[in-house]
Amino acid sequence: MTGLFGLPANVGYATAGIYAVLIAATLIVWLLRRREPGERYQELADRTESWWWMIGAFTVCVLLNRTVAIVFLAFISYLALKEYLSLIPTRRIDRSVLLFAYLAIPIQFYWAAIDWYGMFIVFVPVWMFLFFPALMALRGETKGFLSAVGTLSWGLMMTVFTLSHMAWLLASGDKVNPVIGGVGLLFFLVVLTQFNDVAQYCWGKLFGQHKVTPAVSPKKTFEGLIGGIATTIAVAAVIGPYLTPMDVRWSALAGAVLGISGFLGDITLSAVKRDLGVKDTGGLIPGHGGILDRVDSLTYAAPAFVHFIRYFFYP
């Protein structure tokens, strides 16, 4: 059954659902601001406005066509790697090496796009992992070598390898998800991971008492975490059967995977920010911070969900 743009009808309903939630959120923020203008809800208003831009870009690019969607996801990866390399200490000698690191992005997303799983899964963790230290060694500067190699390898894994799982899910999903295709799986992953962030934030704001990781991310509470994950499981159970090959119970389990891994990605990036002494990773998205502040949960949720569904549902 196909609808708008030749896309599966369920994807159309999902998109409409996202915009309905967004409109409702915008109305609530508008009412709050009307009752109490000023600084208090400014950040919330900025965040909501940024959500319009992000959801707009995501839905347009992903729904337009496959190539545009992959290029869009690769561009997010580029922004994330650039933000990461700009935050960490780097050596002048490695300037041209870093240019090669950027070149890894189109190559990795190409493997994902043509659904060559074997190459997609080894390119960064094996080939790039071996290539960059050797390149740096050949250039002959040994001072700070280990930290340069370590930070670059970890950065490539976090910003290129993990995020490229979204592209592979989109490209490979058609064969296991005949009705709704890769788009349905990608929607399920991205929408629920982002929804989980918002749900954890809301539950934490409303009922937060007991801190989970006071040293890393003092705003994270058990109330927010449990409330958020429970909400994500509930929503996953409802939408999973329409967007994925999973039934209600598998969808709920996938919701738990997304909720927990999303939280872990969030605190991992928080630890990095603490270590570097910055509050946000950048200023690209008003109210949110940088791109890494927005995709931090996806760096864990994307590979976790992809390998979960691949293990249980792929042939």
Partner: protein, 218 residues
């Protein structure tokens, strides 16, 4: 700058498409205190200098509506060496040439710049005088102090930038993407002696730099 409508269009396209694509998309600016930027000319935007992209980055902070008024002040000996380079610097970038060292011979090297301010234009100037070592702030030259004193009603806005010296340092043709932090300071006015003004401006720049948490680059 050129009166030729074709060259004017070329300048608009160059800044609207190529410069903005490189500076805002490929590199990306994180701008702090954008509201401190002047809304119109005359004004002086004084940046720290690390890269050939500095002037283009400052120019892309301003709306395209003000593009015809934006004029980077640039060294004659570096940019006006004849041929296509001179044509590009003059007509497309729209530089105002300054003859380095001519102050010592008794002339006013910033004569043309001051005339531009009188026409209501917005100058982009680098008081360090040269790019020097990437991402290291050098002592400011005195010229900006004399200019501010000569035009005490014109705001001089310090703009601290970090990242362009990593993206495209002196001596390199290879552009490596890095995010750029741009921090805009409060406007200063040349109502004090020129040397006081220079040290005030330099202090403002150092304070803007100190407020940023910048990663090591060694």
């Amino acid at each position: 700058m050129s009166k030729n409508p074709f060259v004017k269009l070329l300048r608009l396209l160059f800044f609207a498409v190529i410069v903005r694509a490189v500076i805002l998309v490929a590199l990306g600016l994180t701008v702090r205190h954008r509201e401190r930027l002047p809304k119109d000319g005359p004004a002086v935007l004084a940046g720290n200098h690390n890269s050939n992209l500095d002037a283009l980055a400052i120019m892309s902070l301003m709306p395209l509506r003000l593009l015809p008024k934006l004029r980077p002040v640039a060294a004659m000996d570096y940019f006006l060496t004849g041929g296509i380079r001179s044509w590009f610097a003059n007509k497309v970038i729209g530089i105002i040439p300054v003859k380095r060292g001519s102050g010592k011979e008794g002339g006013n090297p910033l004569q043309l710049a001051e005339e531009a301010l009188d026409r209501g234009e917005i100058l982009v100037i680098f008081p360090e005088g040269t790019r020097g070592e990437p991402e290291i702030l050098q002592e400011f030259k005195k010229g900006i102090g004399h200019m501010a004193q000569a035009r005490p009603n014109v705001p001089v806005v310090p703009i601290f930038m970090h990242g362009l010296g990593k993206a495209l340092p002196r001596g390199s043709l290879l552009l490596v993407p890095f995010n750029v932090v741009v921090s805009v300071g409060e406007p200063l006015y040349g109502t004090v002696t020129y040397s006081e003004f220079v040290s005030k401006l330099q202090r403002a720049m150092t304070d803007l730099a100190a407020a940023e948490k910048l990663p090591a680059w060694e």
